[in-house]
């Protein structure tokens, strides 16, 4: 069982956070200089990160203090819901993508957290379930969004091949199988690649956080490994679930390809 240190050894002052905004200004300046037209996005992202993380910080503080599992589950449910909404913006070419994404994130979060608790890796307490749940659902969201984005593109590009396969009497699942396979790979490959290069090219966030907080390098590495493997399970489940549920929306019950719709335009 992973045990938490009683205290952390660093404290961050507000002025230190404010000082780091210099780097945000640098990013905006580069965008302006190179006419990348990302200044507004950078400003929105920065403002949202401050508001969202501050609010979630207070929510986590409340959850830790009340120490009840129901509040944890409610927070994770909210994360799943907003994760599915966010991922839907990346899957505009997939009809009815919200349902598959919601199920994919819920299943990935539930299964992964359930397993790490059942295997005795983490205690079923807010201190573990909230941060690990956030990472699991966040990575599941990214993986399923990438997978469905690819699915939408591929279903358009491979339309002629899919219809030619349907014309042979193949089921929708058989006709879409190569497309589903490639979409699943797209959703999973980023985390697999970063797992391959971890420690060589970059230090992952948890490990950096633990080292900054004064933990021993051995503990930091062990916890990071646990989280990497947990995330691998999570992205696999979410990408698989999302693609297997979403590809069906391209077909009618009579195994006919639906006419393509105009992509759903959504505000980011």
């Amino acid at each position: 069982m992973v045990e938490a240190a009683a205290t952390t050894s660093i404290h961050i002052a507000v002025w230190q956070v404010a000082a780091s905004l210099v780097l945000v200004a640098l990013a905006a300046a580069i965008s302006f200089w190179q006419k990348a037209d990302l200044e507004r996005d950078i400003a929105v992202a920065t403002a949202r990160s401050i508001v969202q993380l501050t609010l979630v910080g207070y929510a986590i503080k409340l959850i830790f203090e009340t120490d009840t599992i129901w509040l944890v589950l409610a927070l994770l449910a909210v994360m799943v819901f907003f994760g599915a909404i966010t991922a839907r913006h990346r899957a505009t070419k997939v009809p009815g993508s919200f349902g598959p994404l919601l199920i994919a994130l819920a299943l990935a979060g539930g299964t992964t957290l359930g397993l790490v608790v059942a295997l005795g890796i983490f205690d079923p307490t807010p201190r573990y379930l909230v941060p690990v749940g956030g990472m699991v659902i966040g990575n599941a969201m990214t993986a399923s969004a990438v997978a469905l984005n690819r699915l939408g593109d591929e279903m358009g590009d491979a339309r002629a091949r899919i219809e030619a396969t349907l014309a042979l009497g193949a089921t929708a699942r058989e006709a879409a199988a190569p497309t589903v396979r490639r979409s699943l790979r797209s959703g999973m490959i980023a985390l697999i690649d970063s797992t391959k290069t971890t420690g060589l090219i970059f230090f992952p966030g948890t490990m950096v956080g633990m080292l900054l907080a004064g933990a021993s390098p051995t503990d930091a590495v062990r916890l990071q490994l646990i989280l990497l493997y947990t995330l691998l399970g999570s992205v696999s489940i979410s990408a698989l679930t999302a693609t297997l549920l979403a590809y069906r929306n391209f077909f009618t019950p009579a195994a006919q390809l639906r006419e393509p719709e105009e992509p759903v335009t959504t505000a980011a």
Partner: protein, 218 residues
């Protein structure tokens, strides 16, 4: 009649692609002719339920087409689309995929020969074939299912004269060897004359003629 269309209509993007179409397609060889955009390919796709009509009814062998299970119907009424769209792999793996779907045994050499291809094509990678060869491999793949009816959408539209003649010869040979009906979409009335004995002529989604070749394309 093999197929009977009764007041069939289909809309796309708020426009009628086919409208109030009533016609019969008998056993044998039928050509669907007409200018681009007349609805020829759409009509062909209706016949094996790749799409269903918005209005009207289609009957196949005296039963409503939508009473047939779509997957079984498509194995019996095989459609070869206008553009080649083979699966990754060899020609033989494509033939085997189609034969397995239909639950039919595969004789690669005979199937390739019926489509006018040499047996050596079995091991060829589909990405290394010319468009004409891919078109014939598509025909062979459909034949691997041993269908009763072949629906061919402009099978020679992308080919030069030599490749077109080879496909037409393969189709004529096919008709002689197998008891199979063919419904062929073509924008070329001369090709319809060479390959069919019954003609449906469409113009702007409406029927402009239907009957024996000599009457419709006199």
């Amino acid at each position: 009649m093999l197929f009977e269309l009764r007041e069939v209509g289909l809309d796309r993007g708020g426009r009628a692609v086919l409208d109030a179409l009533s016609a019969g397609i008998p056993e044998g060889s039928t050509a669907i002719v007409g200018p681009s955009g007349a609805g020829k390919s759409t009509l062909l796709r209706l016949l094996n339920r790749l799409v269903d009509p918005d209005r009207g009814e289609i009957h196949y062998r005296d039963r409503p087409l939508d009473s047939y299970e779509p997957l079984a119907l498509r194995r019996e009424v095989a459609l070869v689309p206008q553009l080649p769209a083979l699966l990754e792999g060899t020609v033989e793996s494509n033939l085997r995929y189609a034969a397995d779907l239909a639950g039919e045994p595969l004789e690669p050499e005979r199937t390739l020969s019926l489509a006018g291809l040499d047996p050596s094509f079995a091991e060829r990678d589909v990405t290394k074939l010319s468009v004409g060869e891919q078109q014939r491999a598509m025909l062979a793949r459909a034949l691997a299912q041993q269908p009763r009816i072949l629906l061919l959408d402009e099978p020679t539209s992308a080919l030069d004269h030599a490749a077109r003649d080879q496909i037409e010869a393969a189709l004529a040979e096919l008709r002689r060897e197998l008891e199979i009906s063919v419904v062929l979409v073509s924008h070329d009335p001369e090709q319809a004359r060479r390959l069919s004995d019954w003609v449906l002529r469409l113009e702007a989604g409406r029927l402009a003629g239907c009957g024996p070749l000599a009457e419709v394309l006199a």
